[in-house]
């Protein structure tokens, strides 16, 4: 059993070992290596080992190396930070390590050519906290990611970990916890934005012999990895919050439903649960009280729909993952018919901070309607691909251009897709919209779980809608007719349109189908499945019409509607003709060449090899 005194002792003791990275001490060095999803898969583990080996060789006793959670700037990974200066190295390869060890760690000389390009401004080197990408971010859910060693519970405890749980079980009644959560107005970060405090209250008030807490970690939106980063970088924040929720509603059992495709997160959670049990922070008589709480993992088998609360519960129960009719609230009758609270990873990650710092602090961040922060996974045509946590209410423009660094290769911004397959595309005229639940909803998109995919002038909006529909058709569970049959027909129509076979009636059919699917589907997946189509038809109808009436793709992206053409600039070098795999280009030396469009397979080789840019797509 852990007492509050013991918890504080661990905190004080461990804080001493973390002073360098918290910039409270300036003798010695601490190398932090990003162990987030992106950097992990691009060799962070080996980089750590090589650093340790080199440091041993050099006999640098005051240099510590730690693999931490996601730094966020995945675009430039593998990333390495060196403290106490807070120097940010990016795209580090194993062979770069010698240089960093020799000059930075041994001599204190920064290796400028390996620095993250954004950390040099007017010849001055900025610490990581001053870099544009991080400057506007406010971290609550990701507060420990990239700072602590995710496999060391003591480091979590050092940064006030499990203090919130101690405060709750020792000093507060369940009602007080719920009141605090309601006051803070933490809205569900899984996408729907339902206030967590109100949900907890519903379960609290419903008497039952058994209640459950579930953490929904079945993150499945294409390109989204917010929850994964939290679980991999700071697993204890979720465990602590689930225990707090258990105390508030009267549950003693929690489940984390996590996709099996996240083996690293699963492993780190297993380690974290084991450590928390060993320390008595999970299990019986937590902090010497009669409060018991334990957590088990349940692995999903790869169905997107299991991120839907009731389908997830069916899956935990061992049944086929299909959503239930909403005849009962899950806070009344959820898992095995018992009152169940299900919250998303990011929602839970906010809870300990709210308990410790209070509702007023939380509400001072973000907007009145949507307090706090939101984590987004930036992807697509954006310079700084990665993970960001921003206060609610900042504009899309700030996220995409100030934090995200704008569009690469001098291309023009076209739209941003938020909310994954349930969301919509927001065009540039709405770039100054604040990011909060209501504002994004008004534009026909949703906050969603936090996917944000940026599209540029080369992206065809019909094809983007087709891409998301393709995903939804694949992931529909097949239970209800509008989603099972309707999304399939919608996809077929979109496929016809991008292939230049669409008819004007197809546009009407799309609109009518969108209405049926939205109004008639059983669960959130179906009810929002048409959003990518509805929003692109609303803002980019001209592109749909160009495909249908003119058989033309304005973005030059739909292969079937493209034609390769050789302009007058052709110098007759014959390179295109020689490289064409189907020999469809003819022309004499030093004369303009011609493509036989009937034979052309639109592979684009001619365009690539032309030395004067005479081959164009039109």
């Amino acid at each position: 059993m852990m007492t509050i005194q013991e918890l504080n002792e661990i905190k004080e003791r461990t804080l001493k070992t973390m002073e360098l990275r918290l910039q409270k001490k300036d003798t010695g060095k601490h190398v932090l290596i990003c162990g987030g999803p992106g950097c992990h898969s691009s060799n962070a583990g080996e980089i750590k080992e090589v650093f340790e080996e080199k440091i041993r060789e050099k006999g640098l006793d005051d240099v510590k190396v730690t693999l931490a959670g996601c730094f966020g700037l995945c675009e430039t990974g593998p990333n390495v930070e060196i403290y106490p200066e807070g120097i940010f190295y990016s795209r580090i390869k194993v062979e770069d390590i010698d240089k960093i060890v020799d000059s930075h760690l041994c001599k204190g000389e920064i290796v400028e050519e390996l620095l993250y390009e954004g950390s040099i401004e007017d010849g001055n080197i900025k610490p990581v906290s001053e870099v544009d990408f991080y400057k506007k971010q406010v971290k609550i859910a990701l507060r420990n990611c990239g700072i602590i060693d995710y496999e060391n519970i003591d480091e979590y405890i050092a940064l006030d970990g499990y203090q919130a749980l101690a405060k709750v079980v020792l000093e507060m009644t369940p009602q007080e916890v719920i009141e605090l959560m309601k006051e803070a107005n933490l809205r569900g970060r899984g996408g729907a934005g339902f206030p967590a405090g109100r949900k907890w209250e519903t379960a609290f008030k419903y008497p039952a012999d058994q209640k459950y807490v579930i953490c929904n970690a079945d993150e499945g939106d294409p390109g989204a990895f917010m929850d994964r980063s939290i679980l991999e970088g700071d697993p204890h924040s979720v465990l602590e919050a689930m225990a707090i929720c258990g105390y508030a509603i009267g549950a003693d059992q929690g489940f984390i439903y996590i996709r099996a495709e996240y083996p690293v997160a699963v492993h780190r959670l297993e380690v974290a649960i084991r450590q928390a049990r060993e320390k008595g922070l999970l299990g019986k008589n937590i902090f010497g009280t009669d409060f018991n709480f334990d957590i088990e993992l349940r692995l999903g088998a790869g169905a997107f729909v299991c991120g839907e609360g009731t389908a997830l519960m069916e899956s935990i129960e061992g049944k086929r993952g299909m959503p239930r009719p909403k005849i009962h609230r899950t806070a009344h009758r959820g898992l095995w018919g018992k009152p169940t609270i299900i919250n998303n990873v990011e929602t839970f990650a906010n809870v300990p901070a709210i308990i410790l710092k209070g509702a007023d602090w939380f509400k001072s961040i973000g907007t009145e309607d949507s307090p706090g922060t939101k984590v987004f996974a930036l992807g697509g045509k954006i310079k700084n691909t990665g993970l960001v946590e921003i206060p609610m209410g900042i504009t899309l423009r700030e996220i995409i251009f100030d934090i995200g660094g704008g569009i690469p290769n001098g291309k023009e911004f076209k739209a941003v897709q938020t909310g994954g397959p349930s969301g919509g595309c927001i065009p540039k005229e709405h770039l100054d919209t604040p990011v909060d639940f209501a504002s994004l909803g008004k534009l026909g998109s949703i906050m969603g779980s936090g996917g944000m995919i940026v599209l540029d002038e080369d992206d065809c909006m019909v094809d983007i809608a087709r891409f998301f529909l393709d995903f939804t058709v694949d992931e529909s569970c097949g239970k209800c007719v509008p989603c099972r049959e309707g999304t399939k027909r919608m996809l077929e129509i979109l496929e016809r349109i991008v292939n230049g076979e669409g008819t004007p009636e197809d546009l009407d059919r799309l609109e009518s189908l969108a209405e049926t699917i939205t109004e008639g589907s059983l669960c959130g997946l179906g009810q929002t499945a048409a959003n990518p189509v509805i929003s692109t038809m609303k803002y980019f109808r001209d592109e749909y019409e160009a495909h249908v009436y003119e058989k033309r793709c304005p973005a030059g992206s739909c292969q079937a509607l493209l034609e390769f053409f050789i302009t007058e600039d052709c110098i007759g070098c014959t390179k295109c003709a020689r490289n064409c795999p189907v020999s469809c280009i003819e022309g004499k030396v030093k004369e303009r060449h011609v493509i036989d469009t009937g034979k052309c397979i639109k592979c684009g080789t001619c365009m690539e090899v032309c030395p004067v840019g005479a081959v164009i797509k039109r």
């Binding site: 097949g478 007719v481 049926t516």
Partner: protein, 348 residues
């Protein structure tokens, strides 16, 4: 009691019932394909959608409890539009073969398409194309006609408790299958046919020995004669011939039957069936009248009882008799003949 308004008229209905149940009690017809009052609400076919004033989305009436003050529109323009499109989607992925389909006349999809004016499925594209499973001796399964209402699966699991079938794959490729889709003959199906009875379309059909149309038959309600449970069923009679059996929702069986009651009816019209008592005369059975037979039995009983006493008798009755018949049988042995030597095959 809750006071609700349906289509502009006020009604008082019981609390804790669904909108669909309320409408059915009042006599308002709401189409359903996946609903079965013996099963948990499934809310999959979405045909029972209704509009609730003050709520954004349409709601399925099968899974929505009535609340005091609720204002419900069951046939508003918005509701009808949605139902039509849903039927259109279903029919677009369904064979257009009502002319030759055995289910014609008893098919809910056909009825609703007629009611809502869906002449053809207007969505073109991929259609189901699966082989028909006729490996079961009593019924066939045509997945191409299946509308995935899930009733068969739920009846098999929730009522029959056999769990022989389930759903496989996702989305458009979802299919009702036996484990590993190896066919009905390989499954633990007990051929009770309760899935067949629940199927609203022609996907699960009894194998017929005789062609008939539903409008050609008379339904005759009777009690199953195979055992003493007293299952209620309807004989489907074409002309003077029993051509099929359907379960009836009686108290004892709640719309379920077993393989014998459901499919073993062809003895009724079999040429070998005994229709009169037979008495052995000169070593050969000969047809006799009931009076003649009773007389013989009475005389023999009297003779044996006088000569050897009542303990010389033993009676064995059949599980195919009803409870009432079995009661009378033991009464005959105990009170008339005077012996307790009476038993029943179901006890062995």
């Amino acid at each position: 009691m809750a006071e609700i308004t349906i289509n502009g008229k006020k009604y008082k209905v019981e609390d804790n019932i669904t909108v669909l149940e309320a409408c059915r009690k009042i006599g308002i017809d709401i189409p359903t394909l996946c609903y079965d009052d013996r099963l948990e609400p499934h809310a999959a076919c979405r045909l029972c959608l209704v509009e609730i004033v003050g709520r954004g989305k349409l709601e399925t009436s099968c899974s929505l409890k009535v609340r005091d003050g609720m204002i419900i529109e069951t046939h508003s323009e918005r509701v009808i539009r949605a139902r039509k499109d849903i039927l259109n989607l279903l029919f677009s992925n369904h064979p257009n073969d009502c002319l030759t389909c055995d289910k014609s006349g008893d098919c809910k999809l056909q009825d609703y398409c007629f009611e809502y004016g869906i002449e053809m499925g207007s969505y073109v594209g991929e259609k189901k194309n699966y082989p028909i499973d006729d490996s079961n001796p009593f019924y066939t399964y045509d997945p191409n006609k299946c509308i995935l209402c899930g009733k068969c699966v739920r009846v098999c699991s929730e009522l029959q408790c056999t769990d022989a079938i389930g759903l496989e794959n996702r989305g458009f490729n979802t299919k009702v299958v036996t484990p590993f889709d190896m066919g009905l003959a390989t499954s633990k199906c007990v051929s009770c046919g309760n899935c067949v009875a629940a199927c609203p379309v022609g996907a699960l059909m009894p194998k017929k020995k005789e062609k008939y149309r539903y409008w050609e038959i008379n339904k005759v309600r009777t009690t199953c004669s195979y055992c003493g449970v007293g299952c209620q069923m309807e004989l489907l009679v074409k002309g003077n011939k029993v051509v099929g059996v359907e379960p009836y929702k009686g108290k004892a069986n709640n719309g379920l039957l077993c393989v014998k009651g459901r499919f073993a009816y062809s003895f009724i019209n079999h040429p070998d069936r005994l229709k009169t008592p037979l008495i052995k005369k000169n070593g050969k059975f000969e047809e006799a009248s009931w009076d003649e037979a009773y007389r013989l039995i009475v005389n023999k009983v009297k003779e044996i009882k006088g000569q050897y006493g009542p303990e010389a008798f033993a009676g064995l009755t059949s599980a195919r008799c009803t409870n009432e018949e079995n009661y009378l049988f033991q009464k005959l042995f105990r009170a008339v003949i005077g012996t307790n030597n009476v038993d029943h095959c179901a006890r062995l």
